[in-house]
């Protein structure tokens, strides 16, 4: 009876003793699921940590959520892909300065059977119109992510009033990119995805890329330091150090170096003034 108690206590203490290495130098970055799930951070951050000794802790959420985390002061840096939302963030005084970092593109994914006959096209707006007319199943992220905001913008630009056109064919799932792809795969539905997540995604089922290359599908990523004037807990030196590294030649080269099956996922463009 006494031994039982001792064994249990000993085990608990042993587990408690496994403290994570006390990392005093670390920053918290709120980013999107696409950067996390494409594997970019898994590739990039060890390079940075080795170089500087600073641990980068990434909390991966949708763009909207990531910016909200920044607004609450719970992150030091935000790294998302929705320029309009990022500029709003700056206008609110929540961020210091926006730095373009890299871009990838969105692709329209759909079933090989292609009921709306959009395959091979180079016009995303035309494709969406065809899908709406055909009432073909379409999965939306519905989670205020960069991808979701882009999708909504395309519907609007195509002249389609989603509220009126929405029907059972339009599945608003409120999920991250991976889970939404899972849903699309199981439903054989169309879905707008970022190329990075798609390349890393393993559960493709019958899905394939149907529309790509439209200039409008360009997906720009930007990084910002959360405003330390508004949130005194922000680690401004360490945060800025990370941002500086991302846009530096070393960081940009590292981003370009990330490939899946020989294919590059993200294209560094920190020097592009229009990005």
């Amino acid at each position: 009876m006494v031994t039982t108690r001792r064994v249990f206590l000993g085990f608990v203490l042993a587990c408690l003793g496994f403290a994570a290495p006390a990392q005093e130098r670390f920053i918290t970055v709120a980013s999107t699921t696409s950067t996390e799930q494409s594997g970019l951070f898994g590739y990039l951050l060890p390079i940075y940590e080795k170089q500087t000794g600073v641990q980068v802790r990434v909390v991966a959420l949708g763009t909207g959520q990531a910016l909200d985390v920044g607004r609450r002061g719970d992150a030091d840096v935000v790294f998302v892909h929705a320029k309009a939302a990022e500029e709003k963030f700056l206008a609110e005084g929540e961020g210091v300065k926006r730095y373009p970092v890299m871009y990838n593109d969105f692709v329209l994914i759909g079933p090989k059977s292609d009921p709306a006959k959009v395959g091979g096209g180079k016009d995303i707006l035309a494709a969406l119109k065809k899908i709406e007319v055909a009432n073909a199943p379409f999965v939306s992220r519905g989670d205020r992510s960069g991808t979701h905001m882009a999708e909504l913008a395309y519907w609007k630009e195509a002249g389609i009033d989603l509220d009126k056109a929405k029907g059972p064919w339009y599945r608003d799932t409120g999920q991250g990119m991976g889970p939404a792809l899972n849903t699309a795969s199981s439903m054989n539905a169309y879905i707008l995805a970022d190329r990075g997540t798609w390349l890393a995604f393993k559960n493709r089922g019958d899905l394939t890329i149907l529309v790509e290359g439209d200039k409008r599908l360009f997906n720009q990523y930007g990084v910002m330091l959360v405003n330390p004037a508004k949130h005194p807990s922000v680690k401004k030196e360490l945060g800025q150090q990370f941002i500086d590294w991302l846009v530096s030649p070393t960081g940009q080269k590292a981003i370009a170096g990330y490939k899946i099956n020989g294919e590059q996922l993200f294209y560094p463009n920190a020097n592009d003034p229009s990005a």
Binding site: V12, R72, G178, P179, N203
Partner: protein, 234 residues
């Protein structure tokens, strides 16, 4: 069904390979869940025993409330703890968000009602059996609560295992307050969620099998110890 057989193979590879990342995730899971169940017992057992032997106005309401709290949705608890620990929240100064400590806090809040409600029932049943004798001996209510807690210790083992199982299995609270940060707050359940959303189902299932194996092993060990002790003490 292919996924399942792939998953079993994956699980075997993971365990045999002793991948350091996997080890890190497993140890963190154990650390968080074991700490949570230990704290929950610290708060929940005395609370349950105290309610069991006490009489006070509104007692029945308290019992019903405690039982209901066993069903607290983890996501809701996660959200509430997030709001508490966020820099924009009342306890933001502590800087606990996105740390294992935050995960322990959330899980402790989830499991303490389970431990308290179930131990209340077990101790109350024992109290019914012992009440006259203990009062005859002049035992105080506090003394009775402590004596009964020790006396029903074998039933408590099952309660503790139930609480631990709940902690080890939940993902809704820890993913919100922990942020599923690689190397810092990624535990087995959040890793499974991540691999699922990346579409790597065999890996996700494989991790799931590893998790189940660990929980099963712990339960088996506890069972053996309990049986041996119970045989000695009736």
């Amino acid at each position: 069904m292919n996924s399942l057989s792939d998953a079993v193979v994956r699980a075997a590879q993971l365990i045999a390979g002793a991948d350091p990342k996997l080890l890190e995730i497993v140890l963190l899971s154990l650390r968080v869940s074991l700490t949570s169940i230990a704290l929950s017992c610290l708060f929940g057992l005395p609370l349950g025993a105290a309610i069991a032997v006490s009489r006070f106005p509104g007692r029945r309401g308290v019992v019903v409330l405690l039982n209901a709290m066993m069903g607290l949705p983890p996501v809701v608890v996660g959200l509430l703890v997030y709001l508490l620990l966020s820099r924009a929240g009342p306890l933001g100064e502590l800087g606990l968000l996105f740390t294992p400590t935050a995960m322990v806090i959330a899980q402790t809040i989830l499991i303490t009602p389970i431990v308290a409600a179930l131990s209340r029932q077990v101790v109350e049943d024992a109290w019914r059996e012992y009440r006259e004798q203990l009062r005859s001996l002049g035992e105080t209510r506090v003394g009775a609560a402590m004596t009964l807690l020790w006396d029903v210790r074998f039933s408590l083992v099952t309660i503790v295992l139930a609480g631990f199982g709940r902690a080890a299995a939940e993902v809704g609270a820890v993913i919100i307050v922990g942020g599923n940060i690689d190397g810092v707050t990624r535990v087995m359940t959040t890793a499974i969620a991540l691999e699922t959303s990346k579409g790597d189902l065999p890996l996700a299932l494989g991790l799931g099998i590893v998790l189940l194996t660990i929980v099963l092993a712990l339960n088996a060990a506890a069972f053996v110890v309990k049986e041996a002790a119970q045989r000695r003490y009736g």
